[in-house]
C-alpha cells in the first residue's frame, strides 16, 4: 500500500518519510492501520499453518505426522495466535484506518502511543514464537491455559508465554485508550453520539470491554507467574489456593473477550449491508442499544464455560438464563440486518457476499451457542467437537468474514484501485463452501462424542475427520488468493472514485481514493 500513498505525498507540506523509518517512527493513523493489518495477515497465515498441521494430523486416525506433544503446542499456539495475533490486531488496524475518517478527525488522539502499541506486538509474538526453539518447547496447555496445566505441569518456557501475554495486553489497552479518547473528544462538529457510524459505535464499546478485561487477564498471568516462581498458591490447592479460581478469573476476561472479537464485525457488516441494499440501516438506535446490552451482559455470563466444574444448581441456572438472554439483543441485530435488506435494491459485490454469509453463518454459530448454554445439555457437549464447531462458526465465518468483508469494502479507499471483482467472488465462494465443509461436520462428530484437543480419535470418526481436513486445506489455500487480490489491487486495477460504492454513506467516502496521507485537517461540518 505504501507505493500508492507515496505518489500522493507531495500534495502536503509533510508527507511520509522515506524507507523503513517511515514505518518505524510513523504516528500517522493510516500508516499504523496498515501496519496492524499486514501484521494480522501474517499472523493469520502463521496460525493457519498451525491449523493445517492439526488437520493433517487428524486426517486419519492414529499417529500421523507429529508427536502428541508437538500437536498440543500447535493447538495452543493456533488459538493464541488467531485470537491475539490475527483477529484483534485486524480490528485495531481497521479502527485506526477508518474511525478518524468516519468521525472527521485528523488523526488518533495519541499518535505516539499508537506507534508504541503497534510496535510492541511483533515483540510479544516474537517472544511467544521463540519458545518453540527453546528446551521444553512452546506453550502446550491450550489457549485457555488452565492452571495447574500452565503452572505445575507447564514447560519451563511458560514464563516467556506470560510476558508475551502481558505485552499483548498492554498493546490492546493502549490501543483502546487511544480509540476511546479519539471518539469522545475528536468528533467533527455536529456529529452527536447518535449520528456516529455503527463501526465507530461498536469499537467504542469494544474498547471499553478491552479496558475492563485485559487488566484482569494481566492479573491472572501475574498470579501464574507468582505461583511458578515466588511460592504463592493462588491456584495451588496444597497452599490453600484453588485451580477452579483460575477458570473463574480467566473466563471473567474470556467471555467479554469473545465479544471483543465479534462486535466490530457487527459494525462492519452493518455498513456494508446498508450500502449494498441502498437503504439506511434499519433500526439504528436499536442497533446501538443492542451492542451496549450485549457488552453489559458479557460480564455476568462467564461461568457458562465451566458448567461442569461443580457449581450449585442456583449458579448453573443463573449463568444459563443470563446466557440465553444474550440471544435477544443479538437477535435484534440479525433482524435489523434482514430488515435492511428487505425490499432493498441489492447488488452482490464481494463485501456484500461476505456480509450476507456472515449473517447466515454467524447465526448458526449463535444457535449452537444457545444449545451449549443449556446447562444440563452442556454436560454432554462440554469439551467435544461440538464446542469447536460452535466457536469456529462465530469466529471464522463470523469475525474473520467480517474482517474480510471490511477489507474488500474499504480496500479501494486505501489503495485507490478497485480490486478484481471476479477474483473476489471466487475467493468468496471458495471460502464459503470450504468453511462449511470444514466446520459443519464438527457438529456431528461432536454430538457423537469426539473429544476436542486430542491428536487421535476413535475409528468411527474417521470419515468425517477426513472431510473436515480436506475442507480445511481448501480454506487455507483459498486465503492465498486473498493475499493475491490485495497485492493486485495495490499495484493495478480500475481507478476508484472517492465514493467508491454507489450511494455509500459516511465521511470516509467524501475524501479522495486513495485517502490522502492527511485527511480532515479542517473538521468537516456534520448536519
Amino acid at each position: 500500500m505504501s507505493a500508492v500513498i507515496d505518489s500522493h505525498s507531495d500534495d502536503h507540506h509533510h508527507g511520509p518519510a522515506k524507507g523503513i523509518t517511515r514505518w518505524l517512527y510513523t504516528t500517522n493513523h493510516k500508516d499504523i492501520g496498515t501496519l496492524y493489518l499486514w501484521f494480522s495477515f501474517l499472523m493469520l497465515f502463521l496460525g493457519g499453518a498451525m491449523a493445517m498441521v492439526i488437520r493433517a494430523e487428524l486426517f486419519e486416525p492414529g499417529s500421523q505426522i507429529v508427536s502428541p506433544e508437538f500437536y498440543n503446542q500447535m493447538l495452543t499456539n493456533h488459538g493464541l495466535i488467531m485470537v491475539f495475533g490475527a483477529v484483534m490486531p485486524a480490528f485495531v488496524g481497521l479502527a485506526n484506518w477508518i474511525i478518524p475518517m468516519q468521525i472527521g478527525a485528523p488523526d488518533m488522539a495519541l499518535p505516539r502511543m499508537n506507534n508504541l502499541s503497534f510496535w510492541i506486538l511483533p515483540v510479544a509474538f516474537g517472544i511467544l514464537i521463540s519458545t518453540f526453539f527453546m528446551e521444553g518447547g512452546g506453550p502446550n496447555f491450550g489457549w485457555t491455559f488452565y492452571a495447574p496445566l500452565s503452572t505445575t505441569y507447564a514447560p519451563p518456557t511458560v514464563t516467556f508465554f506470560i510476558f508475551a501475554v502481558h505485552i499483548m495486553g498492554a498493546s490492546s489497552i493502549m490501543g483502546s485508550i487511544n480509540i476511546i479518547t479519539t471518539i469522545l473528544n475528536m468528533r467533527a462538529p455536529g456529529m452527536t453520539f447518535m449520528k456516529m457510524p455503527l463501526f465507530t459505535w461498536t469499537w467504542l464499546i469494544t474498547a471499553y470491554l478491552l479496558i475492563a478485561v485485559m487488566p484482569v487477564l494481566a492479573g491472572a498471568v501475574t498470579m501464574m507467574l507468582m505461583d511458578i516462581h515466588f511460592g504463592t498458591s493462588f491456584f495451588n490447592a496444597a497452599g490453600g489456593g484453588d485451580p477452579v479460581l483460575f477458570q473463574h478469573i480467566f473466563w471473567f476476561f474470556g467471555h467479554p473477550e469473545v465479544y471483543i472479537m465479534i462486535l466490530p464485525a457487527f459494525g462492519i457488516v452493518s455498513h456494508i449491508i446498508e450500502t449494498f441494499s441502498r437503504k439506511p440501516i434499519f433500526g439504528y438506535t436499536s442497533m446501538v442499544y443492542a451492542i451496549a446490552s450485549i457488552a453489559i451482559l458479557s460480564f455476568i455470563v462467564w461461568a457458562h464455560h465451566m458448567f461442569t466444574v461443580g457449581m450449585p444448581i442456583a449458579g448453573e441456572l443463573f449463568f444459563m438464563y443470563t446466557t440465553m438472554l444474550i440471544a435477544i439483543p443479538t437477535g435484534v441485530k440479525v433482524f435489523n440486518w434482514l430488515s435492511t435488506m428487505f425490499k432493498g435494491s441489492i447488488s452482490f459485490e464481494t463485501p456484500m457476499l461476505f456480509s450476507i454469509a456472515f449473517v447466515a453463518l454467524f447465526t448458526i454459530g449463535g444457535l449452537s451457542g444457545l444449545m451449549l448454554a443449556i446447562a444440563p445439555a452442556d454436560f454432554q457437549y462440554h469439551d467435544t467437537y461440538f464446542v469447536v464447531a460452535h466457536f469456529h462458526y462465530v469466529l471464522v465465518p463470523g469475525a474473520i468474514f467480517g474482517i474480510i468483508a471490511g477489507v474488500y469494502y474499504w480496500l479501494p479507499k486505501w489503495t485507490g484501485n478497485m480490486y478484481d471483482e471476479v477474483l473476489g467472488k471466487t475467493h468468496f465462494w471458495m471460502s464459503f463452501i470450504s468453511v462449511n465443509i470444514t466446520f459443519f461436520p464438527m457438529h456431528f462428530v461432536g454430538l457423537a462424542g469426539m473429544p476436542r484437543r486430542i491428536p487421535d480419535y476413535a475409528l468411527q470418526f474417521a470419515d468425517f475427520n477426513m472431510v473436515i481436513s480436506i475442507g480445511a486445506f481448501i480454506f487455507g489455500l483459498t486465503q492465498l488468493l486473498f493475499l493475491f487480490i490485495i497485492l493486485k489491487s495495490i499495484f493495478a486495477g480500475k481507478q476508484a472514485t472517492s465514493e467508491v460504492w454507489e450511494g455509500a454513506k459516511g465521511l470516509e467516502w467524501t475524501v479522495a481514493s486513495p485517502a490522502p496521507y492527511h485527511t480532515f485537517e479542517t473538521p468537516p461540518e456534520v448536519k
Binding site: 488522539a109 495519541l110 489497552i173 483502546s176 485508550i177 476511546i180 479518547t181 469522545l184 473528544n185 475528536m186 479496558i211 475492563a212 478485561v213 485485559m214 487488566p215 484482569v216 487477564l217 494481566a218 492479573g219 491472572a220 498470579m223 515466588f230 511460592g231 498458591s233 493462588f234 495451588n236 490447592a237 496444597a238 497452599g239 490453600g240 484453588d242 477452579v244 479460581l245 473463574h248 478469573i249 471473567f252 461443580g310 457449581m311 450449585p312 449458579g315
Partner: protein
C-alpha cells in the same frame, strides 16, 4: 486540563482499578465459596454452642484419604465410616508416615461433599490447619474433632470428609528462602 487528558486519566485509572479487581477476585471467591459451600470448602476452626433443645438425627459420615500425584507418605484414617448424631462432637485419628529417607513437609486439604453440606461441618480441631513436617521414617497420629450442625438439611443423609495430602516440601523451602 484538556478534555482529552481528562478522558485519558479516567481510562488509565479504570485500567489500574480492573487490574486490582482481578486480584480482589481471589478473596471474593474464597468468601463466596465459604458462604455457599462451593467446592466443598470448609471454614477454619469453629466453636459452636447449640441450644439444648435441638433435634438431633442420625447421619453417616465417610472418611476418604488420598495422596496427590507422587506424594509418598502413608496417610490413613483409623475409621472409614461412622454413624454419627448431629450436634455431638466426634474425634477421628489420622496417621501420617514418611517412608522416604529425607524430611518432607505436607499439607492436607479438606473437602466436604456434597457441597451444600460443607457449611454444616464444623471442625474444632484439625491437622489440616497447619503444615506437617516429618523426619525420615517418622510416624504421627493426629486427630480431627468435629460437630455436625443440627441445622443440616434433611436431604443430606451422608457427608463425606475427604483429605488430599500434598507434598509442599519444595514451596516450603522456597518460602523459607524468600523470608
Amino acid at each position: 486540563m484538556k478534555a482529552a487528558t481528562k478522558t485519558n486519566l479516567k481510562l488509565v485509572s479504570l485500567v489500574l482499578g480492573m487490574f486490582c479487581f482481578g486480584f480482589a477476585l481471589v478473596p471474593i471467591y474464597d468468601v463466596f465459596c465459604e458462604i455457599t459451600g462451593l467446592n466443598g470448602k470448609v471454614s477454619g476452626p469453629t466453636i459452636t454452642q447449640y441450644d439444648e433443645n435441638f433435634d438431633s438425627r442420625e447421619i453417616k459420615i465417610l472418611f476418604v484419604t488420598k495422596n496427590n500425584e507422587n506424594m509418598a507418605w502413608n496417610f490413613t484414617s483409623e475409621k472409614r465410616t461412622i454413624d454419627a448424631e448431629t450436634g455431638t462432637a466426634y474425634t477421628v485419628d489420622y496417621t501420617f508416615e514418611n517412608p522416604t529417607d529425607y524430611p518432607m513437609v505436607a499439607q492436607a486439604i479438606p473437602s466436604v461433599s456434597p457441597g451444600k453440606g460443607a457449611q454444616y461441618f464444623h471442625k474444632t480441631e484439625c491437622f489440616c490447619f497447619e503444615e506437617q513436617l516429618l523426619q525420615p521414617g517418622e510416624k504421627l497420629t493426629m486427630p480431627v474433632r468435629f460437630i455436625i450442625d443440627p441445622d443440616l438439611p434433611d436431604d443430606v443423609p451422608v457427608l463425606t470428609l475427604g483429605y488430599t495430602l500434598f507434598d509442599i516440601t519444595e514451596s516450603h523451602i522456597k518460602l523459607q528462602a524468600s523470608n
